[in-house]
């Protein structure tokens, strides 16, 4: 039986693009394949909030009329987290308050993807306004982990991770504020990258915490993630924080990995790993570090003394910024309006109370408190100062190493419902992912093994600002030396995989 991209649900974006280029398949074939796969598997998985089938097919047919095939993602299906807007397509951000919102404009990333030939097939489930680590804060129900349906896929970009892990699309975009790309990538056994702050325009990303939010790719291979990042990167006059930095040829760098890591210095922050690490994660991490050393990397200890404060700093900063960003949901210009209010103020209060879920209210309340008169210096300003110390730790580490390595998540995927009663416990799961965004640094999660229950485990690499190329180099060499990228869910159980 042919193993061509058309029959293989787990074909890479690169393979699909090449097959279309050779006229072995059309963009429409690739699009139909993705839509069929979604129809066959999304019932139990619930990766998609909205499938834009007609729009996608029309777009694919238009691409097929182009000769010769154009951009670097020509005909490649992709899914977008539902907090990234596409003109004429609903965007809920997982919230009731945006239940009927249809975007009148395109996010810059959507525009760039389509200009490169990608076909957006739909929008994926996420925690409400990207606030969460499991998708359980979605107002429309959670996604399910394809490796074990009773487990969370991670969050907040969980639906995007599931779509890629389960072979619905080869690529997806998510957003990462405190780990929302890397943690679900780890829990679903795929690659996820949070770029350097400022690498990718956030125009059209529904804002959560603006000093942290960054859009990035999910893929099943490092090379595909690099290809996607290259397409979406670069300055944008509609987002002044999208920096005017040269975009390296990420795709060609990652497509031809150097194979060994001689001359690359990798730092292990042993003190950060000291407590609360699941034994299977610890074992997989230790083995991964040995693999990096075997590949020629110079592995040495580094110290990040303020990392333990990361979660406290993160939840003070992100909630403060969220309380400000979410003030715009007032029932006037778009979104839900709760009826029957006699005054404007009462309308605001009722609309927001009816439209926001519990976690969003909790974070708005916390953020409002830490910014309020009398408390701002003790909480928000103090958190910003400790944020400086966390950045300095990384500056010092990167004086002696080229990348810092640590687990992505302290545990494999947890059960849906297991952590919803205790918000603080849910926050503590972000221990390894919050520091990179606080320092603005790029970080990637790559699959690095499985637990005894056959749940995926992720390895995280953090790099210098603007040096995603180093992350791709190390991650690609690691990927090539290990079997993990070829492991796919559903093969063992067959529970949902009848496509």
């Amino acid at each position: 039986m042919s193993a061509g991209p058309l029959r293989d649900a787990f074909a890479s974006a690169t393979a699909i693009r090449e097959a279309i280029g050779r006229r072995e398949m059309s963009a429409e074939d690739a699009c139909r394949h993705a839509l069929d796969r979604i129809a066959a598997t999304d019932g139990p998985l619930h990766a998609f909030q909205h499938v834009a089938a007609d729009r996608a097919l029309e777009r694919a047919r238009t691409l097929d009329r182009q000769a010769p095939p154009g951009g670097p993602l020509h005909g490649v299906p992709i899914a977008l987290k539902d907090n990234i807007v596409v003109r004429g397509v609903p965007a809920t951000a997982g919230s009731r308050i945006l239940e009927r919102y249809v975007s009148p404009f395109d996010a810059t990333v959507a525009e760039r993807l389509e200009r490169a030939g990608a076909v957006i097939v739909g929008k994926t489930v996420c925690d409400e306004f990207a606030m969460g680590s499991s998708t359980e804060n979605s107002a429309y129900g959670p996604s399910h982990n394809p490796w074990a349906l009773d487990r969370a896929p991670g969050g907040s970009s969980g639906g995007s991770a599931v779509a890629v892990a389960a072979g619905m699309t080869p690529l997806a975009l998510g957003s990462d504020t405190g780990g929302s790309i890397r943690q679900p990538a780890a829990l679903c056994g795929i690659v996820g990258l949070k770029p350097t702050y400022g690498r990718v325009s956030r125009y059209g990303l529904i804002a959560f915490a603006s000093s942290l939010d960054q859009i990035g790719p999910f893929a099943r291979t490092v090379a595909d993630a690099a290809l996607c990042l290259e397409v979406i990167s670069g300055a944008d006059e509609r987002d002044a924080t999208a920096a005017n930095q040269k975009v390296p040829p990420f795709a060609s760098l990652a497509a031809a990995p150097e194979g060994d890591l001689r001359g690359v210095r990798v730092g292990v922050p042993e003190r950060v790993l000291a407590s609360g690490l699941d034994p299977a994660v610890r074992a997989a991490f230790d083995e991964s570090v040995r693999v990096l050393a075997r590949l020629g990397a110079d592995v040495r200890p580094v110290d990040l003394p303020h990392s333990g404060l990361g979660i406290a700093v993160y939840y003070l900063v992100c909630t403060a910024e969220a309380s400000s960003n979410l003030a715009r949901y007032d029932g006037v210009r778009y979104g839900l309006r709760a009826g029957d209010a006699s005054s404007l103020d009462a309308m605001y209060d009722r609309t927001r109370s009816a439209g926001f879920g519990a976690e969003v209210k909790r974070r708005i309340m916390l953020g409002t408190y830490v910014l309020s008169a009398g408390y701002c210096d003790a909480y928000y300003l103090k958190a910003q100062q400790v944020r400086t110390l966390i950045r300095r730790d990384f500056d010092q580490a990167f004086a002696t190493v080229d990348a810092v390595v640590m687990p992505t998540s302290p545990t494999p995927a947890f059960r849906l419902g297991e952590r919803t009663a205790d918000p603080l416990q849910m926050y503590l799961a972000d221990v390894f992912t919050v520091t990179a965004p606080l320092a603005g640094l790029p970080a990637i999660s790559v699959p690095c093994g499985f637990s005894e229950a056959h749940l995926p485990i992720g390895l995280q690499l953090i790099g210098r600002a603007w040096d995603e190329a180093m992350l791709f180099r190390v991650a690609a060499a690691y990927e090539q030396a290990t079997p993990w990228k070829d492991a796919h869910p559903g093969e063992a159980s067959g529970a949902y995989d009848r496509a």
Partner: protein, 98 residues
């Protein structure tokens, strides 16, 4: 020291945040926010003398672009998502302010 929030604190914050909370939410948030703030107090024990706060992580300076007029979102599209708009007048309608 554990941070505690009273019901009055929670109601004051809710008013600032334009949220109308149920009785159960007031009690729940008083407890949960207190727990989170107690956890976050560890930042207050750090010596930050002479440490500048980070508000922007990548210093970009002032970003300039040419001031070229472009057509804005047209009025029809801008009103399309409004829960209550007067299409004829081209306005958003709200409950009375005064």
């Amino acid at each position: 020291m554990a941070s505690t929030l009273t019901r009055a604190d929670v109601l004051r914050i809710a008013r600032l945040a334009h949220l109308e909370l149920s009785e159960a939410e007031v009690d729940l948030f008083a407890r949960q926010l207190g727990e989170i703030l107690t956890y976050a107090e560890e930042v207050q024990r750090v010596d930050t003398t002479d440490v500048a706060p980070t508000s922007h992580v990548i210093a970009a300076g002032t970003v300039w672009r040419p001031d070229t007029p472009v057509p804005p979102l047209d009025r029809e599209a801008a009103l399309a998502n409004a829960p209550d708009a007067s299409r004829d007048a081209g306005l958003f309608r709200v409950p009375k302010v005064l």
